[in-house]
């Protein structure tokens, strides 16, 4: 850190290095945008799925659950819940909440209509069909 290595050299390396890696990141992101249509299951983005995603958001589901591993870790992963439980179980489960079992973690009842429940299930189906490089390791999520 002494001798001939000066502050202005350090500053120039900072600016040069930052610009280079920003450009590299943008190039990789650009390539990602070209490649992901084959992986992100966008062909199945129906009205029901879009509405399901909105229900997922406005009820803050991510505040307890994770989705593709991101979110809170208080309640089970739901990216693959469609394959783990199936549509009928999911709907019955959501409607049966809260269990009220003493000392157990509780999920609120959101009072969803039948259509809303169907839309949520469609969203979970869509999520489970995204190509996630074989994550999670097993069905338990």
């Amino acid at each position: 850190m002494s001798g001939t290595f000066t502050k202005s050299m350090a500053r120039n390396i900072f600016y040069g290095g930052t610009v280079f890696f920003v450009l590299l990141f943008l190039a990789l992101s650009f390539d990602t945008m070209k490649v992901i249509p084959k992986r992100d299951n966008r062909e199945n983005l129906t009205e029901a799925v879009i509405n399901g995603k909105k229900l997922w958001e406005v009820n803050n589901c991510i505040g307890c659950h994770s989705l593709l591993g991101e979110g809170a870790y208080f309640a089970p992963e739901l990216g693959n819940v469609y394959t783990r439980r199936g549509p009928e179980f999911i709907k019955a489960w959501i409607q049966a909440m809260p269990t009220g079992a003493p000392g157990r973690r509780q999920m609120p009842n959101f009072g969803f209509t039948d259509k809303e429940l169907d839309d949520l299930v469609e969203f979970f189906k869509y999520s489970s069909e995204i190509n996630t490089a074989n994550w999670p390791p097993n069905i338990e999520g």
């Binding site: 930052t18 992101s29 992986r39 593709l68 991101e70 979110g71 309640a75 869509y126």
Partner: protein, 459 residues
């Protein structure tokens, strides 16, 4: 205080500490809900407590960064702030908007809040850390722009130091990347991809510029080491930060539907992310060892050294622990992530804000440093909070490893909730460590009210 307008930093620092206290209280509520599942249900469901906990964290750190900038920039530029009135007005706007948002979280169901605040016009809510209603998000942008305008105008009329420039780059970057929070495509993969442009490029990108600038500023003040040396270190550290951290974003692109080449880019570059944090630790110790003066504020020096060490451990070591794709395949979205998140945020950002507060607050209150008695109390709080955070992290790590084993790695994996039951002992221990953290925080707050002798020690 060299410049009168630096005084606007004071309310920012006080608000930061108050909101920090709120964050910890809600953390304790959540910690208890992990083991007593129906605690406070349905008054405060877990998701609400978590939203309050994480949003308060972000907001108090922002208050801390803003206070730090208002304190530092006049001294760095050697001129009064462009508009102290604007700074104070923004303080009240930000505080009221923040408080209303938290009240909204706590009193109205989230879906109702979304409806009331225009989420149907532009849906941005319900994504982790970006849960704020549209109105609040717009408010944050307005406050940030007024804040940046104020500081940039100050900068333009005064001396331009490297510390000042790096701080301003960090703050501008913070505001610019926040704009991605308004982009919420229906496509979940795209949504997640650009969500990280806020979250990762904040905490493993531009926030580290702010962290570096704050630390460098305090180190110049308390050690008296030549500015040229410190600023050279600062550039080296932030260079390492950005050349590892930007591509390091890829460690979030392993399992969310993005191409698999990110497993290579993300693993390699994020494995290098501990290096800038290590450099920061070496920097802090080196400068303190080469000090040319003995500043009476020992507590601030302790926080400066502490943030170096704890950010290296929390962000560097605990980040590396689960950043390689083959490891992350098993640990992604488990308590291992939570362990890392806690120590990294505390070590890097909470501690650096407490460091600048520790340095600046006595001066804002008209003395070079607090009395030895007050400083001893503050140092006690440092150790209580820091050691209990180490234990919180260790217990969550143990919980995470067990969770991975039971739920993902064993030949007979068990369900999420069955695994949670198995590891509840560690959640209990984490909660007790959290109680000690709260005690440390209360001691910290009490240290502001200790008078003691020698109040007017000169620097």
């Amino acid at each position: 205080m060299q410049y009168k307008s630096q005084a606007v930093a004071k309310p920012y620092f006080i608000a930061a500490i108050a909101l920090f206290t709120g964050q910890i209280l809600f953390g304790l509520i959540m910690g208890l809900q992990y083991v007593i599942g129906d605690f406070l249900f349905p008054t405060i469901p877990f998701n609400v407590a978590r939203m309050v906990h994480t949003n308060l964290l972000i907001v108090w750190l922002l208050f801390g960064f803003m206070g730090a900038a208002y304190y530092m920039i006049p001294e760095e530029t050697e001129t009064e702030l462009f508009s102290p009135k604007l700074a104070l007005a923004m303080f009240w706007i930000f505080l009221v908007a923040g408080a209303l948002t938290i009240v909204g979280y706590l009193t109205v169901p989230y879906a109702t809040l979304a409806k009331l605040t225009g989420n149907d016009i532009l849906a941005t809510m319900g994504r982790e850390f970006l849960e704020q209603p549209l109105l609040t998000k717009v408010g944050i942008v307005i406050v940030a722009l007024a804040f940046l305008f104020n500081l940039t105008m100050t900068m333009l009329k005064g001396r331009k130091t490297s510390i000042g420039l790096v701080l301003m780059m960090g703050l501008w970057g913070l505001a610019i990347f926040f704009l991605f929070s308004f982009y919420n495509p229906h496509n979940l993969v795209l949504d997640k991809f650009f969500w990280w442009w806020v979250v990762h490029l904040w905490v493993e990108g531009v926030w580290e510029l702010i962290l570096g600038a704050l630390l460098a500023f305090v180190l110049i003040k308390v050690t008296g080491v030549d500015r040229e040396v410190i600023e050279k270190w600062l550039y080296v550290i932030i260079t390492l930060t950005l050349i590892t951290g930007i591509i390091g974003t890829g460690h979030h692109y392993f399992w969310i539907g993005t191409p698999e080449y990110w497993q290579w880019w993300g693993s390699i570059f994020s494995a290098l992310e501990p290096i800038p944090f290590f450099a920061m630790t070496v920097f802090a110790f080196n400068m303190v060892n080469r000090r040319r003066r003995d500043h009476p504020n020992k507590a601030a020096t302790l926080w400066a050294l502490g943030t170096g060490v704890m950010s290296f451990l929390g962000a560097g070591v605990w980040g590396f622990l689960h950043t390689l794709a083959p490891v992350n395949y098993y640990t992604h979205g488990t308590q291992v992530t939570a362990a890392h998140g806690h120590m990294a945020f505390y070590g890097a950002y909470a501690m650096v804000v407490l460091c600048i507060i520790s340095y600046a607050m006595p001066i804002l209150r008209g003395r070079a440093a607090n009395s030895p008695k007050a400083q001893v109390m503050e140092m006690w709080s440092f150790w209580l909070m820091t050691v209990s955070m180490v234990f919180i992290t260790l217990f969550l790590t143990a919980a995470g490893i067990l969770q991975v084993w039971l739920q993902r790695f064993s030949d007979t994996p068990i369900s999420f909730m069955a695994a949670q039951d198995q590891i509840s002992l560690f959640y209990w221990m984490r909660e007790w460590a959290g109680v000690v953290f709260l005690v440390g925080l209360l001691v910290y707050i009490a240290s502001f009210f200790v008078k003691g002798e020698n109040d007017t020690a000169s620097a």
